[in-house]
Subunit: 519 residues, 2 copies
């Protein structure tokens, strides 16, 4: 065993210290009990803020200086603009001009549009990133080029880490489509409307300093105030905060692949045949092509049977909005709008409710919404025969995706992974997932184009679908069939010893390590 590494309850080797902080190894689902109290930022006073409520300053650089930016600080940002964010790069460009070094960037997620941060990692302005790294930054990290360890947290895990004081944020920067000079802001108004700002909630509540950056200043009050100005230090007006058309990021198109359509249909039929589809039920499906197709199949079944959901969890798309508008659900409880119909609906429809990682996902709260959802449909890059799943690394070992709400959603009453059995002739069903992101005991059903595999732990589901005409098949059988097609199990990725990132579980413990790729 490497020095400073321990084997955790999932049998994975994980470091005992992460970026200078003691780390707890994963202790099993529900096995880690937090000690201590919540983070406690300094008490502010109105003495230090303008009585007229006007906190506007000239530009991002001025705001960073006013907030006392210095070497080694942690700067956070949110990703509601996804690949259309224009603010994070501007913040680190300004930090570079100010001349500070060794910052930690703590985004709720980063995207290909943030590739310019690589220059700041190279120059030393940014020391390392803790947060999802989708694409180029993940690849950079995978090749061992980042100084600190990457830390991958779920949306709920990020809230937990901030709430628990594990990550003290020095300066939070919140890109806001609409704001007043006091700092009240929202994502539903203005030319760059992106829906909501829930990923920045923890940052606003717990950061020592908060900067709101907007391209649409309205007179006080900015209503609704999704982020409250009483937490905000400065407001900066810029030309453009984001390109909302890019929040779509290629994920929100219904699949045309016949295999994936078949998967989607199996999922919908499973939800129906297992008795989950009943009046007042709830579900969550992401914005990937298969998940969208599932929602459309399900919608037809609901109409056929006259069934209405109590709530659908977003990320929202026009398909969910249509269901709300057609009366097929009482509410959309939304954490992230994935298209402009979602944005419009959230602005106009009081039953399209904005949620946050606190309400939906925080494991260190007094419950959360995720465990109340009847069925959730998720993806994965790999799964094994014990139903363990990977969602962050590819079969070649490269870290290319964030966790998002994926881990948090596993606490749903029925967690379904809807995945192709192979991709590019590489099996998705493996002996051992490259990176463990979700413990198998929480994954209830794996549905591929080859059939429906139910976790043997879920005897209730197995007996519920008895008599269904769905192809219910043991996972091992599907795996063998796929290996026959692909010419055997996939080659294991070529990995070096060096750990370049860790995957946190929802309770803040370390679930797995990610190693550098060779070459």
């Amino acid at each position: 065993m490497s020095k400073g590494m321990v084997k955790n309850a999932a049998g994975r080797l994980v470091p005992t210290e992460v970026n200078g902080r003691k780390a707890f190894p994963f202790a099993g689902v529900g096995g880690h009990r937090p000690a201590g109290v919540k983070a406690a930022p300094r008490v502010a006073t109105c003495i230090d803020y303008p009585a007229d409520g006007n906190k506007l300053v000239d530009d991002i650089e001025t705001a960073l200086r006013k907030c006392g930016l210095r070497d080694g600080m942690t700067i956070s940002s949110h990703h509601h603009f996804r690949n259309g964010d224009l603010v994070a790069n501007a913040v680190f460009d300004a930090a570079a001009r100010i001349g500070v070094k060794d910052l930690m960037w703590f985004p709720s997620a980063s995207f290909p549009c943030h590739a310019p941060i690589i220059d700041h990692l190279e120059s030393g302005v940014v020391h390392h990133i803790e947060g999802s790294m989708n694409g180029p930054l993940g690849d950079y990290c995978s090749h061992g080029k980042m100084r600190g360890l990457g830390v991958l947290r779920s949306h709920g895990g990020r809230y937990q880490a901030v709430q628990d004081g594990e990550v003290p944020i020095d300066i939070a920067v919140i890109a806001a489509p609409a704001a007043d000079p006091f700092g009240n802001c929202n994502g539903v108004e203005g030319p760059s409307a992106c829906g909501l700002l829930g990923f920045a909630l923890a940052d606003s509540q717990y950061a020592e300093k908060v900067i709101v950056v907007t391209d649409h200043v309205v007179p006080f009050p900015c209503v609704p105030w999704q982020i409250q100005g009483n937490y905000v230090d400065c407001v900066v007006q810029v030309d453009k905060v984001g390109e909302p058309e890019k929040i779509i990021s290629g994920t929100t198109m219904i699949t045309r692949s016949p295999d994936r359509l078949l998967i989607a249909e199996y999922v919908a039929r499973f939800v129906r045949d297992a008795g989950i589809l009943r009046d007042g039920f709830s579900f969550q499906a992401g914005a990937g092509g298969t998940a969208l197709a599932f929602a459309i199949f399900l919608k037809e079944m609901m109409k056929e049977r006259g069934i209405k959901a109590r709530f659908i969890r977003g990320g929202s798309t026009k398909y969910l909005v249509e269901m709300l508008e057609e009366g097929l659900t009482d509410y959309i409880l939304d954490g992230q709008t994935f298209d402009l119909d979602g944005v419009r609906s959230m602005r106009e429809n009081p039953n399209h409710v904005n949620t946050s990682p606190f309400t939906s996902y925080n494991w260190h709260g007094k419950g959360n919404f995720a465990s109340m959802v009847d069925a959730v449909v998720l993806g994965a890059t790999e799964v094994d025969v014990d139903f363990n799943a990977n969602v962050v690394t590819h079969s070649d070992g490269r870290l290319l995706h964030g966790i998002g709400g994926w881990q948090n959603c596993l606490s749903s009453k029925c967690t379904i992974l809807a995945i192709p059995s192979f991709r590019d002739r590489i099996p998705v069903l493996v002996d051992r997932v490259t990176t463990l992101c979700g413990p198998g005991e929480l994954v209830d059903v794996i549905i591929t184009e080859r059939g429906v595999s139910i976790n043997p732990r879920r005897k209730d589901l197995l007996s519920a679908v008895r008599g269904s005409d769905l192809p219910i098949r043991p996972i091992e059988e599907v795996k063998k069939e796929v290996e026959g097609i692909c010419g055997g199990p996939p080659d294991p990725p070529e990995l070096a010893e060096k750990v370049i990132a860790v995957v946190k579980w929802v309770d803040g413990t370390i679930l797995d390590s990610i190693r550098q790729v060779k070459g």
Copy 2:
């Protein structure tokens, strides 16, 4: 000077310790800078809460036991039902049955309906009360019968005290007109709808344990969730949580007194003539008869001149709701609904926005709404020639009123006290107020039926009304005239040495002491 007492910056003798905690003497407006960090409740974990979100327990007693009620704890409650609250008494009755002693009751305010708490004070179940004591409980305290010191805080000061950890709440009990089994709740739905629940916000965020008591359980999700279930430990269903018709509490009738109508008219004319009445302006007026009459005079002036307000701060009444519905303001920013039209409007109109002591009044935030209001119209029990004002004790020295948002509103751009010059032949204008609640430097204008007296510090206002046909008169002149009518200045109240309560300033310092009345 008595032992353990110091003279503060306002020249008032105040204790250096209050209920076992070190107390800071008032250091002047803006003179006290907080040190330290916010209160930090224990980190919770979903391990301890039901995955299905159902936190319903049988009754209040069970909930209190589940929350670990024991001797000496602090139990908080809110006063959105005002004199129609049915929950606080039930909580202390249950505590008495459990057999605990020496509780501290920390209501946001208490009313005559809470007179039964006197029995619990007598029996030792309740040790003392920190919170507004309107009527019988204040009288009880004034006679020196309560064991601890009463602590009077403004709405903002109460949020500050909880946020800053000055008052750690062990168990918060939140009476909610509508709630789901998870604990999400609001004040706008259900048979006992009272409007909003903002006075319970700090309690939900910072208390170790939170009990929601409701008479209207809805399936998850209860939308809007004015209080978030993620903070809630237990939900209890009872027959009735409150009598919303009693939120009116006799304060929301327009005055018929010719003197008070004259005062109201003077106030409206002053706001107009001083140039405050302009497009996009804002104001706050309470729910007293004079304040309501003022709003009606002002409304006519606004219609005459085609002026629209940007926002009106509530307490809301049907008169403000009419202004919103007639397009005379963009928003009502409401902290407390004072009648059922207010409740309806908040439920139905997205521009009738619910606020909290955090957004509106907390001095230990990064600014608050109160200082952005162009003009506020308030009452007082006494004022002196230096514009110092009293709002909690009567001329006989008895403590009969709470502070409410009164102190917080003093930071408005123009603070107007609209008061009769005498009551029951006792002058309201005095040499020295019995209890100092508001420092004179923050009171800009005193308007009685005898004229408009502008604080000499406000040279800008004095010059703004030059040429107005209002009776602008020095405060000393009005005082002399009133003393002529009443046969001299009022007799000073007969007070004992013993301090029975303190008045806190918005920053948590001690502004004044209240002494026991003799006899």
